[in-house]
Amino acid sequence: MATSKVFLYMQHDTVFCWNADDILYLRKELRIVGQLEGCLASLPRQLNLCGRPLRLMNEEAHFLLKNNYCELLSCSDLASPPTKQSADNFKEIQNRAFEEQRLLVKEEKMQQILRAGEKILEGKRRKLNKEAAKSGNEPPPLTLEQAVDEEIRRIPELTQANALVQIFTDIKLFSEHPVLDCEKLAPISWDYPSSENDKIRATVYGDLWAKGFYITGGEKFGGDFLVYPGDPVRFHAKYIAICLPFEGLLTPFQIAVHARVAVSVNKKVLLCTVNSDSRVIYKYLEWLDAKREKMSQETIK
């Protein structure tokens, strides 16, 4: 948590966080929201509810690294397909896990049967009596051991389809099972931000964060960021932040399209830019409705 350093992992030019405690820490203490992108083991084949890893925006990761909240690692082994040795090791781990499960399941079932031995005996005796009454013969004798043994023999074997599969989400475990070469897991340096646009986005992100907002990606609404006054799970976004270069042109089409999207989803367009003194300037777009203006002017009169 706060004592041990949070590790972030770089894969395919994207920064991820795998540890559940770290993810909660990032959200609660550091206001970093990110986006869960992995498959939830308990709810596969859908995208509404995702699990680990947490994908971080470039700006979020840059902010964390710059302020020394986290360390960035990368495993070069993951860049290429697994070697035969790694694949064999992994299969061996899976088989061992399955074997352990098989034995455990059988053991558990046996204990259940032994505990319910009396009831099983009674049930079997009743059944035998019923058959005897029908056929008119004497019911055969039955001991507890015989009844229990019969049931134990009927325990089904655990199949692969019903076995639990362990999904490794924390790379620390790999130090015990040598599938990945842990030597290859090392801190890396990251050349971000490099382009002008990236620099502006990173600066604006830092400034918005410093003001106390929660910030997530704004791709859904055609903007750069979505700015929330509180945790996104409790608040709606207030602004759609669009980062612009200081000397750039803003066409009327951009104004129209961004303002229209914002009005239809009840948010405000926040235009952000960074001037030559590295100060962030914010402007917002106001849609002045002619009718409402007229009405409000009349009420003033």
């Binding site: 907002f213 002045l288 007229k294």
Partner: protein, 335 residues
């Protein structure tokens, strides 16, 4: 089935709105030629093409839906309503204190500076319609204030006092550069005068291209769709270059929003594209990206118009959830 282009939707008012025979209008001349097109005249003033003559305004608007009334939302209706459409508009306001605890109030009066972003210059350069909305409405506000001050209606006495010295407010029609050029170039039924000088086609082309670097590209798309029979109007309100109407705005809802793009250009970033898609979905119109393929690499000139090719891309958002029901049989097989 929803992946095909949506057809035009008729408006309820289509039943009683008359569709006049469209421009160009043929008439017999006194000279040897049997027919020629009726000539209309416009004035080029401050970067805008204005039609001042009332008959010309009616002809141009009702026979082809060219142009936009300067005091109205679309159709030049100032004479009927006597109410200048004082634009709904976008304003830029500076944020003085951005923090999570005090959100920016709706229609707040926080700051009026345009300042650092240099927006004014951009707006007036890249569009005639948007700046026209702002400037013309400002002018009208001034003059109509005095008009209303001097006019009061006393219903009890049934007497009305008018001041004949108040300035008369007249509405003119403003044409997009593409519209003006189309009428001049294709039909030669419009003369554009700049200080009493009738501008030639070449002159007009150069003038418009200088005013808006995207004019040549936009014109190719405009000409293309007009030739196909669509009524092409400005799509600025929808965030696009043009909006296509079948027959005209009073008859059908605009069906398509056109974004004009150079084929060699990288085009919109995907975030901006998603904003366009989102807007067109909200207003139930289809988004079409019109790519202009030029022959030469340099700037498009008048002589190269014919060699251009147009490529259309219909952009639509695909949602996996909507297609799930079709795949349900497939999923059972997998299980």
């Amino acid at each position: 089935m929803s992946d095909i282009l949506p057809p035009p939707k008729e408006k309820a008012s289509n039943k009683w709105t008359k569709l006049h025979p469209q421009l160009p209008i043929l008439e017999e001349t006194q000279t040897g030629a049997k027919y020629c097109f009726v000539k209309l005249s416009a004035v080029y003033h401050g970067g805008r093409v204005i039609i001042e003559d009332q008959d010309n305004i009616d002809t141009l608007f009702y026979k082809g839906y060219f142009g936009k009334g300067t005091l109205s939302r679309g159709e030049p209706s100032y004479d009927k309503t006597k109410e200048a459409y004082t634009s709904s508009r976008y304003e830029f306001k500076e944020v003085t204190d951005l923090n999570p605890y005090n959100p920016i109030p709706d229609n707040g009066k926080e700051g009026e500076a345009y300042g650092d972003l240099n927006i004014d210059r951009i707006i007036s350069k890249n569009t005639s319609i948007l700046s026209a909305l702002v400037t013309s409405s400002d002018k009208i506000k001034e003059s109509s204030n005095s008009y209303e001050d001097t006019q009061h209606v006393d219903f009890d006495q049934g007497e009305t006092f008018f001041d004949d010295n108040a300035p008369k407010v007249t509405e003119t029609l403003e044409l997009m550069p593409e519209e003006a050029f189309f009428l001049k170039y294709s039909f030669n039924c419009l003369d554009v005068y700049d200080h009493n000088e009738n501008l030639s086609i070449k002159c007009l082309w150069d003038l418009f291209s200088e005013q808006d670097p995207r004019f040549p590209l936009r014109y190719v798309a405009y000409h293309y769709y007009r030739s196909k029979g669509w009524v092409v109007k400005s799509g600025l309100i929808f965030g696009g270059d043009f909006a296509l109407y079948k027959d005209g705005p009073p008859h059908y809802h605009s069906t398509y929003i056109i974004l004009v793009k150079d084929a060699d250009d990288q085009g919109l970033s995907w975030i901006e594209l998603s904003a366009h898609v989102r807007v067109s979905e909200t207003i139930a119109k289809a988004l079409i990206i019109c790519e202009i393929v030029r022959k030469e690499d340099r700037n498009l000139s008048l002589s190269e118009l014919r060699d251009c090719q147009v490529r259309e891309l219909f952009i639509k958002r695909w949602m996996p959830s909507k297609h799930n029901s079709e795949d349900s049989g497939h999923e059972d097989a997998v299980r």
